[in-house]
């Protein structure tokens, strides 16, 4: 299997992020704190507990160049933490939100970060040198419901968002004085802050987990209806594909190469999707093995019992035998995986290692080195 390390840190993990050298991990154990653990000689020891938020910390991101941690919480606040003399010192960022903050991500140049919120707005925060504080600029228009995920394009200006209104949108977050106008990129109209570049209406249900491919040419996001959407050539004439798959919905995705995506979600097992040479995306396989139940169907005993009851109502039908004794699905995670984080150098075209965290409180580290042959030439 591709799993290198698994450790159960807490009852449940909301989100996690890695330090620049990947030796420390920061996560929220489903409460208002952020725990930082360091790995040394196969042991994990807790170094810091960051306690400033009043409610659950819904998003954490750790910048790799400036070594700052940004946290956002349901208490509508955000803190940027800097390491000073061995201690993490928080700086409050006034987001001007009246609902919970749901997700956060540093921009590729780490001079801005984006926050998605339940207030149907996205906050773009940047550092103002003169006043020595972080300023928040809001994108108020367009979203009809909570913004669940945000993702930065490699050019540091375009931002993709997914929302519970089912749509994925791309905005320009150009800020005068922070961003420099690239004479090659786009027309002046696109460079206006908060300008919507494109809106993708592919999903009928909630949308989650948006990510850009390493080159920024392709977007991938998931819908709650067990669908994953791929959009190539994001721009005036995009090529959209909807891929329906067998199992439970996904929550997050990660591009491990230009043509390969890993999705994680309620099935507790990462799924691999790839584009073939003609550009058609499809489901390839699961990363881990899926344990087969002896009765022939691939569901665990919990499902078998439920189906037995369901089908047993019909007098003519023969019920599925609930055979398996163990409750676990035989994989690494026992419960929904809600976050997947790359463990490679930022901006590199291929991701060899990544980590997943979920509701079971485990963080698993996966290494694809041994699986390169199996994954094929798209990787």
């Amino acid at each position: 299997m591709a799993v290198v390390d698994v450790h159960r840190f807490a009852e449940s993990i909301t989100c996690h992020a890695w330090s620049p050298d990947h030796s420390m991990v920061a996560f929220c154990p489903n409460n208002n704190e952020v725990h930082i653990y360091k790995s040394s000689q196969d042991q994990w020891e807790r170094l810091h507990v960051l306690e400033k938020h009043d409610q659950i910390v819904s998003g954490i991101d750790w910048s790799s160049k400036s070594n700052k941690i940004v946290t956002v919480s349901h208490d509508r606040n955000s803190y940027v933490w800097s390491l000073e003399g061995g201690e993490w010192v928080p700086t409050l960022v006034i987001l001007r939100l009246n609902r919970a903050a749901l997700c956060v991500q540093w921009s590729p140049k780490e001079n801005k970060f984006a926050v998605g919120s339940g207030a149907k707005t996205v906050c773009i925060c940047y550092y103002e040198q003169e006043n020595n504080w972080w300023v928040s600029k809001l994108i108020r228009k367009r979203h009809e419901s909570s913004v669940t995920n945000v993702a930065w394009h490699p050019n540091n200006i375009l931002l993709a968002t997914t929302s519970t209104d089912g749509k994925c949108r791309v905005f320009s977050t150009f800020i005068k004085g922070v961003d420099t106008k690239d004479s090659k990129a786009g027309s002046p109209a696109e460079s206006k802050f908060g300008e919507q570049i494109i809106q993708l209406d592919l999903s009928y249900s909630w949308a989650f987990g948006v990510k850009w491919s390493p080159s920024g040419n392709t977007l991938a996001y998931v819908g709650h209806s067990s669908m994953i959407y791929f959009v190539d050539d994001v721009g005036p004439s995009p090529l959209a594909q909807s891929v329906a798959f067998r199992d439970l919905p996904l929550r997050d995705v990660l591009f491990i190469s230009e043509k390969m995506v890993i999705g994680v979600g309620y099935d507790s097992n990462p799924m691999v999707f790839a584009a073939d040479d003609t550009g058609i995306w499809s489901f390839i396989r699961y990363i881990g093995e899926k344990k087969e139940v002896s009765s022939g169907s691939s569901y665990s005993s919990q499902f078998s019992e439920a189906f037995t009851k369901f089908y047993g109502q019909s007098k003519a039908t023969t019920a599925n035998e609930a055979s398996e004794s163990s409750k676990s699905r035989g994989g690494v995670h026992d419960n929904c995986i809600n976050s997947i984080v790359p463990l490679s150098k930022a901006g590199s075209p291929k991701v060899m290692r990544f980590s997943t965290s979920g509701l079971d409180g485990k963080i698993a580290i996966w290494d694809l080195e041994s699986m390169q042959e199996e994954l094929g030439h798209q990787f």
Partner: protein, 133 residues
């Protein structure tokens, strides 16, 4: 979404189409071709309308074809993958009627369809509140 006078005419057109489908299905059933009948019934479903009468009319046609199916495995073998999601929606409509024979048949088909299409099929049926049947 179905606007004013134009919407009313549209509904009539859809019902007319469903009626044509119905006659075709009756003839197929007389020829002991229940699988063909179901395929015909599912084609063009759900009718792109918010009108409940159209949906009910289509349901009656699909129901007729569903109840005639005896060999479920064979039927699913012959059905294209793209019809799985729409068949699942009609199965749930059938289950919601509470009528004993309908529910029995729908449960039998549901079991086999879930084995083939997976839980994702059920998810797509439940989460799509726009294109209901």
């Amino acid at each position: 979404m179905a606007g004013g006078g134009g919407g009313f005419v549209e509904a009539e057109a859809i019902i007319a189409r469903i009626e044509t489908k119905s006659t075709k299905i009756e003839s197929l059933l007389k020829q002991y071709k229940p699988v063909e009948a179901l395929k015909t019934a599912l084609e063009g479903s759900p009718p792109k309308t918010l009108d409940e009468r159209c949906k009910s009319a289509n349901w009656i046609v699909v129901h007729r074809a569903l109840m005639a199916i005896k060999d479920i495995e064979g039927m699913l073998n012959a059905l294209d993958v793209e019809y799985y999601d729409i068949l699942m929606k009609y199965l749930y409509r059938g289950l919601s009627t509470g009528d004993r024979p309908t529910c029995d048949q729908c449960l039998k088909i549901h079991e086999k369809l879930t084995e083939r299409a997976g839980l994702g099929c059920i998810l797509r049926c439940l989460s799509d509140t726009l294109n209901t049947v």
